[in-house]
Symmetry: C2
Subunit: 253 residues, 2 copies
């Protein structure tokens, strides 16, 4: 590997196999191509099935491989660069927003979100569900929690639920002066409903982006966005739309 002088630590067998497999993917396989079955692969590389499986799991984690039911293991396309937010900060649903409103319903937020919104125990908030599609694929699902006290002008003619209700809540949110926002990114696992929206199995690794929106001197909305970790690379700043593929192995090895 490129930085051998910096690599003192010994590598386990499956890890070495992963590196070899990764090189084979680059040189011998095309994107979308189906890999030989595990028995054949294990035989070719002279390793135990268990070792092979560990290596395949690593490559899947790094976005190099995709395992699909009824299809088998295929070579994954490069991860998509998906732009997350804007440094200057805009409200959800403002011009240029990549998200599509799907639904809206009143609900009690999870404890952590309630704390961020300084909501009272048992207090309900508007929960807007939105989805994001990029390059024709669903890449993220969002729950946007909006304090009811911040959008009091919802008129009686607004639909009680659905996408139009969601748009109504966002429209009212836009009346407030956005004072700032902050963001956190962490590893998570897809909940059943998110997994369905993202065409994944529940529990699939996801990148969870939590954004707090500040107005009126407090947090008026909290977005919890769940991005597919297998296909997405979240980009910040000028990197918007950059499509270079760099899985960790290829970045740092």
């Amino acid at each position: 590997m490129g930085t051998t002088q910096l690599e003192a630590a010994p590598e386990p067998k499956y890890w070495h196999l992963k590196t070899v497999l990764s090189e084979a993917l680059d040189s011998e396989f095309a994107v979308g191509e189906i890999l030989p079955n595990e028995r054949d692969l294990a035989a070719r590389f002279g390793v135990a099935r268990a070792t092979l499986r560990q290596a395949l799991e690593q490559l899947e984690l790094e976005g190099r491989l995709q395992r699909r039911r009824g299809v088998g293991t295929t070579v994954a396309p490069p991860r998509m660069g998906v732009a997350v937010g804007s440094e200057h900060g805009t409200w959800p649903g403002e011009v240029g927003d990549a998200w599509q409103p799907v639904d809206c319903a009143p609900a009690q937020p999870p404890a952590e979100v309630a704390r961020m919104l300084a909501a009272k125990p048992d207090e309900q908030v508007h929960v807007v569900r939105r989805t994001r599609v990029s390059h024709g694929q669903p890449v993220a699902a969002e729950l946007l929690y909006v304090a009811t006290s911040s959008v009091t002008e919802l008129s009686a003619i607004d639909a009680p639920s659905g996408a139009s209700r969601a748009r109504g809540v966002l429209r009212e949110l836009h009346r407030l002066g956005l004072e700032g926002q902050d963001r956190a990114v962490e590893l998570g696992s897809a909940r059943a409903d998110d997994a369905k929206a993202l065409d994944r199995l529940p529990g699939a690794p996801v990148l969870v982006v939590t954004t707090r929106f500040f107005a009126e001197g407090r947090t008026v909305a909290v977005s919890v966005a769940t991005y597919r970790a297998d296909t997405c690379r979240l980009t910040f700043g000028d990197a918007v739309g950059v499509e270079i593929h760099h899985g960790p192995e290829r970045q740092a090895s």
Copy 2:
């Protein structure tokens, strides 16, 4: 869960168990406490060992549990908010930088990094290794690739390697006018050397942050930073240092 009205999708058995376990962790266990063994837990919740194991893996993925060799499964402390970069942008190693230089050596960068640096095939660059400690724990390891053509003034008296060499390379980098930077975050798995630095096993899930530094109208340096995904929540903007714990389940359920 809080947003039941939005959750139509059926949940698999292990997923329901995960939710129940998560609530049990909140109400019955303290941070650092060791969980009962799998047989006892499976018996208590009336599930098969395999189902229990799936649920435990999910909770580990979400940072709620830690499995440690020879210790067992313990309740994890809240994830740390770790500030990533600054919106205005500074050079690596400038005042306020949380990273410690460890080593520096010439090496050929991986293909993707070479492309970003517009390096010629077989061209070597300075590879600075740095580590980051937060709250007394190693949280991240970095490989910083610096184009040799950008730091030509390294004096003969600079050490040929080691931390002092690293500081010399950073010092020269600071002579350039930083024109901008961008950043990408993606899921990866820890390489053997990173895993060692982070006190993890090779292949452990990590958050890989790739930062490009622009000067002289081109990319002069590329940082590939590997953060522990189990203990870290990467924060951007004003969220610096915020210590609220919100595992995805508790965020969005």
